[in-house]
Assembly symmetry: C2
Homo-oligomer: 225 residues x 2
């Protein structure tokens, strides 16, 4: 009975996610869903990505938080259109929350929509929002055992950004073990080692994301021809 209720909620979410997906496709907007533990550096990655790709792509952001507007304020400070979702206690954003946030953005002037999820290494993976791909961060201080302990998010993601590598000298983090564990769960996972603080390693992430956006746009033009 409990399982059925959960299944119905997820089915309803998937339907709305598919509708979001169609809308984004029709507008030519590439959409990513950024997920991680609290404090792994999602907002910092969003900031760096806007700074690096903001001249090439028109970017919009949806910030998901339980309450407050700290992260949205940081993004808005860069001059980027941003809408805040406050989940009111919920530990993830879902497709309906994203749908209700969309009127706050100009979808006719957007190439990339970044959704920053609530900080949580478990629940966000279950809720599609209409994204092209999920991207997750793991930060070095969290430890190399996290992929094996919290596998679902690693399984669902196209890219894993391992952040805060500038802290490697000060913590016990076995990089090889973390990556091996992540690839065991998801052999297609593209992994980046970065520091949003020092900018080390970020260029590879920018290039990967740019290629994904360009590929999406090219396929769309191909279909229209």
């Amino acid at each position: 009975m409990k399982v059925t209720v959960v299944k119905n909620i997820l089915d309803a979410n998937d339907r709305i996610a598919a509708e979001n997906r169609s809308l984004f496709d029709s507008k030519g907007i590439y959409v990513i869903n950024v997920m991680s533990s609290p404090g792994a550096g999602k907002t910092s990655l969003v900031e760096r990505t806007i700074q690096a790709l903001g001249s090439r792509y028109r970017i919009g952001v949806i910030e998901g938080d339980i309450q407050d507007t700290f992260d949205a304020d940081r993004v808005a400070a860069l001059g980027t259109p941003v809408v805040q979702i406050n989940t009111g206690g919920a530990c993830h954003i879902d497709a309906n929350m994203v749908r209700e946030a969309l009127p706050g953005l100009d979808l006719d002037r957007m190439d990339l929509l970044i959704n920053e999820n609530v900080g949580n290494l478990v629940c966000p993976a279950e809720f599609a929002i209409g994204e092209n791909c999920k991207v997750m961060l793991l930060s070095v201080p969290e430890g190399a055992d996290k992929p094996a302990k919290y596998p679902s998010m690693f399984k669902e993601s196209a890219a894993l950004v391992i952040n805060k590598i500038d802290l490697m000298p000060y913590v016990d983090f076995d990089m090889a073990r973390a990556q091996r564990a992540a690839l065991t769960i998801n052999q297609d996972l593209r992994i980046f080692e970065v520091s949003c603080r020092t900018s080390e390693g970020l260029d590879a992430w920018f290039q990967w994301l740019g290629e994904r956006i360009d590929g999406f746009k090219a396929r769309r033009v191909g279909r229209a021809a």
Copy 2:
């Protein structure tokens, strides 16, 4: 309707938590529920606490994880009785999971039962398990904005252990801001600044926990007299 279902689940959980509570009381066991983000250092705090208090109190541990037995293995290596709960995807432990784990422990030979929750800064706060108090960890690399962004766990806890202070020189963490925000949410919160890595600050935590256990035992004897 969705809200009603959630309320029924929480009501059922509270009933079982109260039954657990009665059982622990009858056995004279002080029970703590340790919560934090993934990788904040819960298992390290459990290890240090066992090493410091294990000669004074008979300690048992319940380890809650989505899957695997990494943390339980670490605790078992100290010679401490431990039972693993695998939640099978659920992002928290609940009262019924704890109840089902109890036959694996000798409750007649226990003074302190430590429950290590699933790493999650949101959901565990909602599920009582029959504990005397909730204890939460916040690790320095997570950032000082976390109390304001994820208030429920700070509100529910009796103690806040701020871990990984050895990383303070390498990250931007405003200790005063974090503590001010936490105390705004919960003015009774007892705060400890520690490093489980270097052991700095842990003595105050051990002393506080010891006093809580002793006070609980003394009140119990008082009632029986």
